[in-house]
């Protein structure tokens, strides 16, 4: 890939495909603007990079110089960051072309991409359904074939869950593997930039480029970038744990069938499969919905209309300015979480909620250590409790919406890497399975994903 015209051809093709999928409302950047920028980037890009000419869309909560960064929120309407995220800078340095910004739940709070101030994103194959969220725009664009890969972000499953719903691969790296510099914070101790790709390989090579130490993020580990694993011949020698708490009796039948079939394939590939227990799993969602809103309530305090973003005021005093800007600028789900977070951090409630949740987080991490210490290399679970649900179905019931993250939030709470990949279909709707790996052993986890990916049939044959 050293022909300089290839980048231009790739830019044009991506721009054309983005026009075709406009109806999904997956990209927040107008197609004309994306095309113009893609062509400019392609003209300037150096042909030596490992991602030369690859069009990569970026979730709208990751700062870019080329496009606005609104986080799907009215409160950042028109906001243009004066700097770009480390992950974006690394993509560009590797020769990738930034293909616009993707729609998401406001400030990444949501599991359906319905909580965007710029309208919901449609599921790529069923417009009545949601693509998942919060990185729903990224997942839909990849699934629709508009881009081979896109950046998303995870706080509680926001890459893996939409990847599962849309039938693409989604990787959430170990906390500290990818710099958060330039990722607009939601729950800082949980947030990681992740990658959605058509295949394990596409997602993994983007992850490899964006990973590695960054002096601008004190929580980013001082490690080299991820080295891409090779596709293994078999899974001989792998011990894969199946945590029983992820297969409750009331699990959706299709999800169970798809997982059982995948486990059979894993055995056929040579892996030793073992049932294991992560006993604190039932507390993961409640723990998450204390810690993530607590951090969010503080992280989102800066949006006050005083310095950037729209200001909803006449000539008001400063308190009224805050009240109106934040009251009108944030959507209902963001306001709900700010209120919850403020409550759990308040004096008199801190010990009962925040401190207790931190203790539970430590117990959840211990669950995984116990399993990995007994020789288990990886865990395999369903990614979501059901296939993509109908738009509007869970909007009125926040707890039902929160429970769609039940299998994904734990990896964020304990900081472990996880990958979701398609393992089947039910009535045409994709189903995802996930591997949860050991900290900073993404390469092992991706080897397993490569192996499983090769045996999952395409099209109608994937039906369970």
């Amino acid at each position: 890939m050293t022909d300089p015209t290839e980048a231009l051809a790739s830019a044009r093709a991506a721009a054309d495909r983005l026009v075709k999928v406009k109806r999904l409302n997956a990209s927040l950047t107008p197609p004309k603007e994306t095309r113009k920028s893609l062509l400019q980037q392609a003209a300037a890009v150096h042909p030596s990079g490992v991602l030369y000419g690859m069009a990569v869309a970026v979730k709208d909560n990751i700062c870019t110089l080329e496009f606005t960064t609104t986080c799907g929120s009215k409160i950042l309407e028109g906001y243009r960051s004066p700097y770009e995220a480390t992950a974006v800078a690394r993509l560009k340095a590797a020769g990738a072309l930034i293909a616009g910004k993707t729609n998401c739940d406001e400030f990444a709070m949501g599991s359906s991409t319905e909580h965007s101030a710029y309208g919901r994103t449609q599921h790529p194959t069923d417009k009545t359904r949601v693509p998942g969220g919060s990185s729903g725009g990224s997942a839909a664009l990849v699934a629709a074939g508009a881009v081979p890969a896109a950046l998303g972000s995870e706080t509680g499953g926001s890459v893996r869950q939409p990847a599962a719903f849309c039938g693409v691969v989604g990787i959430k790296p170990t906390y500290g593997r990818v710099s958060r510099y330039g990722l607009v914070a939601f729950g800082s101790s949980l947030d990681q930039i992740g990658v959605l790709g058509r295949s394990v390989h596409d997602a993994a090579r983007v992850l490899s480029v964006i990973s590695g130490r960054d002096p601008r993020d004190a929580t980013c580990e001082d490690r080299d970038s991820l080295r891409l694993p090779t596709v293994p011949e078999s899974l001989q020698g792998f011990v894969i744990g199946i945590p029983k708490e992820y297969f409750p009796p009331d699990l959706d039948a299709a999800v169970r069938r798809a997982c059982d079939r995948a486990i059979r394939w894993l055995k056929e590939l040579g892996a030793a499969v073992r049932e294991v227990s992560l006993p604190h799993t039932p507390y993961a969602v409640p723990t998450y919905y204390i810690l993530a809103p607590a951090e969010a309530s503080s992280n989102l305090a800066r949006y006050d209309g005083a310095r950037y973003g729209p200001r909803f005021d006449g000539h008001l005093d400063v308190r009224a300015l805050y009240r109106r800007t934040r009251g009108e600028g944030f959507g209902p789900e963001v306001r709900r979480r700010i209120l919850v977070g403020t409550y759990v951090l308040s004096s008199g409630y801190y010990d009962a909620y925040y401190r207790k949740a931190q203790q539970m987080r430590a117990l959840l991490a211990q669950d995984f250590r116990n399993v990995f210490d007994r020789g288990v290399d990886l865990l395999f679970t369903p990614t979501t409790p059901s296939p993509a649900f109908k738009a509007g179905e869970k909007l009125a019931d926040p707890v039902a919406m929160y429970l769609s993250d039940i299998f994904t939030v734990t990896a964020n709470l304990v900081g472990l890497p996880a990958v979701s990949l398609p393992i089947g279909r039910v009535k045409g709707l994709p189903l995802g399975g996930q591997f949860i790996g050991q900290a900073f052993l993404e390469d092992e986890m991706l080897e397993a994903a490569y192996a499983l990916e090769r045996v999952v049939p395409a099209g109608a044959a994937a039906e369970v």
Binding site: S189, T219, S298, A301, R307, L345, S346
Partner: protein, 479 residues
């Protein structure tokens, strides 16, 4: 209640700016006085997605400050967010430390004007970032915000309720400032906001051990106001209690107004903060190795109290002189350089405390005469080459224009004449012109000798060596 004797109890929280080139969590300059909103970047502006990274130099300085104050430095401490809304706080929270601060349990001895040597306990010392500045008087009906100070590194030093008068509180602060300047962690210039004080004040009947209800006095923005502000609040509390009738002190936060020398309660809205502290998830625990802490200890210079004692024993100086010379580290270093360059210790002390400090006072605290030059000057006086008066002129000349004292003295014609051939001429002239005094001397009025010496000095315009002159006069008058 009139007639009750009240005891004042004061505790201080002092914020000190660390002497770093850059801010606490980003690379911007921490310098004072730049045009508004020029020392800023995405990090200290708290722009979406920006992240703080601790300034290692600031951590070093904070640890040195803690060690200089005898604190226990903890190998693991936590950064925390203090959440509140204010336009000059761009993230909506201040990064500080709350549970698990950098250091605790220190002590600082100081000279109390009431009790002699007293000790203030240092309850805790933690690191934090400064907020910006709201300017309410710059534009009519609008508040301007300058974010240059956002993220400037501070330490907060909290004492126990250890001071018994506003004067004691001030004495402690002066000692604190001295120690921090010595340790080179701060420059302590309150006008630039690099040292700010909040005070907890209460009063109780003499003899009582329980603390009275306290108020917090904020906004004491200058050293000069510390004593005034505390006195005003102490007097106010005593007046309330003396008035009796069940009146009680309200636990509240008060703002000191220097213009009217009074305190006023902070508005309720400003006060009712629940800061919702929690560990900052952007910053891993601050882990300090024993080697790192030891290295900071090794970087600490000799502190003022130790230096003072050493000056007394090593240079045979009085305690008072040693205190003057060690009040400022630069002066103490200067004094020792003069001695090392050959200046006799006692004479060097007198010169430094006299001419050198007087000159520095008029010239922006600059010690303008190099130590080697001052040492030479002192030797010239001791060796009889220069009179003390002449040496002072040479000092000024060297301060203004530089040069070697010996050469300067030559050029100014100030070198004493010890050549008897020349001196005899002046002696004869003087004795010839004062025949009356000569005969009175010869009749026993020997104290006139100094008069003759003075006249010879005058005739020589100060150049005559007084010792040789005196000997010649005695010889002539005896014959």
């Amino acid at each position: 209640m009139a007639g009750v004797v009240w005891e004042t109890v004061i505790g201080l929280e002092t914020h000190v700016q660390l002497r770093t080139a850059s801010k606490m969590f980003c690379g911007n300059s921490a310098a004072f006085g730049a045009p508004p909103n020029t020392n800023i970047c995405p990090v200290c502006l708290g722009l979406p997605g920006a992240l703080p990274v601790p300034n290692e130099v600031a951590v070093q300085l904070a640890v040195r400050a803690a060690l200089a104050l005898g604190c226990t430095v903890h190998p693991r401490s936590l950064f925390a967010r203090k959440n509140y809304f204010y336009p000059d706080l761009p993230k909506g929270y201040q990064i500080s430390q709350f549970e698990q601060p950098l250091a605790t349990e220190g002590a600082l001895s100081y000279l109390s004007p009431d009790r002699g040597i007293a000790t203030a306990t240092i309850v805790r010392l933690h690191v934090e970032e400064d907020a910006g500045k709201s300017l309410h008087d710059r534009f009519p009906k609008a508040t301007a915000v300058d974010l240059n100070r956002c993220g400037v590194p501070l330490i907060e030093i909290v004492t126990g309720p250890d001071f018994r008068s506003p004067q004691e509180a001030r004495a402690y602060l002066l000692t604190l400032k001295q120690v921090l300047e010595y340790a080179a962690v701060a420059d302590g210039d309150m006008e630039k906001g690099s040292l700010r004080v909040d005070a907890n004040v209460s009063v109780r009947r003499v003899g009582e051990t329980a603390l009275g209800t306290k108020t917090e006095v904020k906004n004491i923005n200058s050293f000069a106001y510390v004593e005034k502000a505390l006195t005003v609040e102490r007097d106010r509390q005593i007046a309330v209690l003396d008035a009796g009738g069940g009146a009680a002190i309200l636990q509240e936060t008060l703002l000191y107004d220097a213009k009217t020398n009074s305190v006023r309660p902070q508005r309720r809205k400003e006060e009712s903060h629940d800061y919702r502290y929690f560990p900052d998830p952007d910053l891993p625990p601050l882990v300090l190795s024993p080697e790192f802490i030891a290295a900071q200890q090794a970087e600490l210079p000799e502190l003022p109290a130790t230096k003072r004692e050493r000056f007394v024993t090593e240079y045979a100086l009085s305690v008072t002189d040693a205190a003057v010379l060690t009040a400022d580290r630069a002066v103490a270093d200067y004094y020792e350089s003069v001695v090392r360059a050959g200046g006799e210790p006692k004479a060097s002390a007198n010169w430094v405390m006299g001419e050198a400090l007087a000159d520095a006072k008029d010239h922006n605290e600059a010690l303008r005469v190099p130590p080697s030059a001052l040492a030479q000057l002192i030797s010239l006086v001791k060796g009889g080459t220069l009179s003390h008066q002449a040496a002072k002129r040479v000092f000024s000349e060297v301060a203004e224009r530089g040069g070697e004292p010996r050469n300067v003295a030559d050029a100014l014609g100030l070198v004493q004449v010890a050549d008897t051939g020349v001196l005899v001429g002046w002696v004869n002239d003087v004795l010839g012109a004062h025949a009356g005094e000569v005969s009175r001397y010869k009749q026993g009025e020997t104290k006139l000798l100094q008069f003759f010496v003075g006249q010879v000095m005058r005739a020589s315009r100060g150049k005559a060596d007084p010792k040789v002159t005196q000997r010649l006069l005695e010889e002539k008058l005896a014959s």
